[in-house]
């Protein structure tokens, strides 16, 4: 926990000794991370190092092969699958926990048959059971906030990547998440559209939200993150305060990674 001043706060996410194999290939080899309430963690690392897999294990889009995930102290129930791995033990619990963790994807994944407003109210109305009027009111203010109120009746296919990603962030905020998970939110964007999305995410970081952000934007990571985690080949090779980590990387891999990214 070097360098983080949030260490005393409640633990929002605990990843304990997480392993994940696809077939016989071990992609995560024992990763442990604790995200405290209000902490912003940037996860960096080379392609294939397991960043996405780690994020996806947190909300059980991938089932860990070994290890524990806790959300606000509540461990996600897993049981043996009889083949040396694990499988979900309680789908209701997983669904409930998923509604507290909002994921933002690299490819936006907005629902194309719904306009922006419908995208944003979908989960509040049909999963959380809120009233439509209440959900619309909140969605409008969120769309306003990400600068897309005027586009609320537009279908995603008619928007730029940057606009779609901002809408996806509004959709994420609509569930009032305890933790936000970003998986390379700007990697699919044209360079000129990256800024508008990063500024929205940056604002969220300043609000004191708990966020785990996988990103290749090193400058951004340095600015917004309380802590940086460097994943290499399925293990956390180095972590710590952004300034210290970037100015004085200890491991050879991280040094090479930083210079390769520039």
């Amino acid at each position: 926990m070097a360098g983080s001043d949030k260490a005393g706060l409640e633990k929002a996410i605990e990843v304990i000794d997480l392993h994940k194999s696809f077939d016989s290939v071990e992609v995560l080899k024992g990763v442990s991370v604790t995200a405290h309430q209000g902490e912003v963690i940037a996860i960096i690392g080379g392609s294939g190092s397991g960043k996405s897999t780690m994020l996806r294990c947190i909300n059980m889009l991938e089932t860990p092969t070994k290890g524990t995930i806790k959300v606000h102290g509540e461990a996600i129930e897993l049981k043996s699958d009889g083949k040396g791995g694990l499988k979900p033990a309680n789908q209701d619990q997983i669904r409930r926990i998923r509604t507290r963790l909002a994921m933002v994807f690299q490819s936006f994944n907005l629902w194309q048959h719904m306009n922006l407003l419908e995208n944003v109210i979908e989960v509040p109305v049909h999963v959380l059971g809120r009233s439509k009027a209440e959900a619309v009111e909140m969605a409008d203010s969120l769309l306003h906030r990400v600068g897309l109120y005027e586009k609320r009746d537009t279908y995603p296919a008619f928007l730029s990547g940057g606009q779609q990603q901002r809408a996806a962030i509004a959709r994420a905020l609509a569930i009032e998440p305890e933790v936000m998970l970003f998986d390379e939110p700007t990697s699919a964007l044209d360079p000129e559209l990256i800024g508008e999305v990063l500024s929205v995410i940056g604002d969220l970081a300043k609000e004191g939200r708990t966020m785990l952000i996988v990103t290749h934007e090193m400058k951004f990571a340095q600015e917004v993150a309380d802590r940086i985690i460097f994943l290499n080949d399925g293990i956390i090779e180095e972590q710590g305060d952004p300034k210290i980590l970037f100015s004085a990387p200890k491991s050879e891999h991280l040094r090479r990674f930083i210079s390769s990214i520039g």
Binding site: N59, L61, Q91, R95, R96, I97, R98, T99, L101, A102, M103, F105, S107, F108, N109, L110, W111, Q112, H113, E122, V123, H126, V127, Y155, A157, F158, R171, I175
Partner: protein
Amino acid sequence: MKNWLKLHRIILLIIAAGLVTAIVTLMRWDWLPNYYGDLLSGVWITLVILFFTCILGITLAIPLGLFQVTGPKPLAAACKLFCTLIRGTPLLLQLWLIYYGVGSLFPQIPWIRESLLWPYLREAWPYGVLALTMSFAGYEGEVMRGAFAGVPSGELEAARAYGMSRWTTLRRIWLPRALHRALPTLAGEVVLQLKSTPLVATITVVDLYAVISKIRQETYIVYEPMLLLALIYLCLTGILVVTFRYFENMIPTREA
């Protein structure tokens, strides 16, 4: 408006007007008033058959397509087999197998003869509706399989990531998204289905085609009733196309 008045358009219009005048004046239409009632009932029967076989057919096609994508394997194989059989054999054959085959077995089974459904099963139309429904289900099962499989997995994953149950995901995301993708194809298939309905005339159902046949037999007029038949099918097709276009435009799509 200007575009409308191009020379070739005007010439085409004049030719069309001439044709219509010739048809109306040179051909015999005096029989028409005698058959208004029959024609109307024929159109009605055709439309009712079309409507119900399409609705029932797509209702069957959705699980037929879905199970082929989701499995389990034996169920997927069974659905695939059904679609292949339907698509691989002539509709007329299916219709006759059901009407003359199944339909002639029923009277020999006592509990069917005593059932409440018997009065209906003695008529021809249930067999026509069944055959056309299965046919539509077979073709559209294949269309829906493609449509379900073509929904980007990221959108389904987003649904999962936000805590939707499998059922909610199907109801709110997967199915509407697949139907929307399939709609242009389905529009064409409904038009094809319209043009399959005359086959029921071969098992004594009195649809539009059967009415026209009757007129030809009674009046010994050959061409005029057929011309009228073609015109009515054309109009019905036009109405279907416009209706589907309306539904397609409810959710705009951008050509990639």
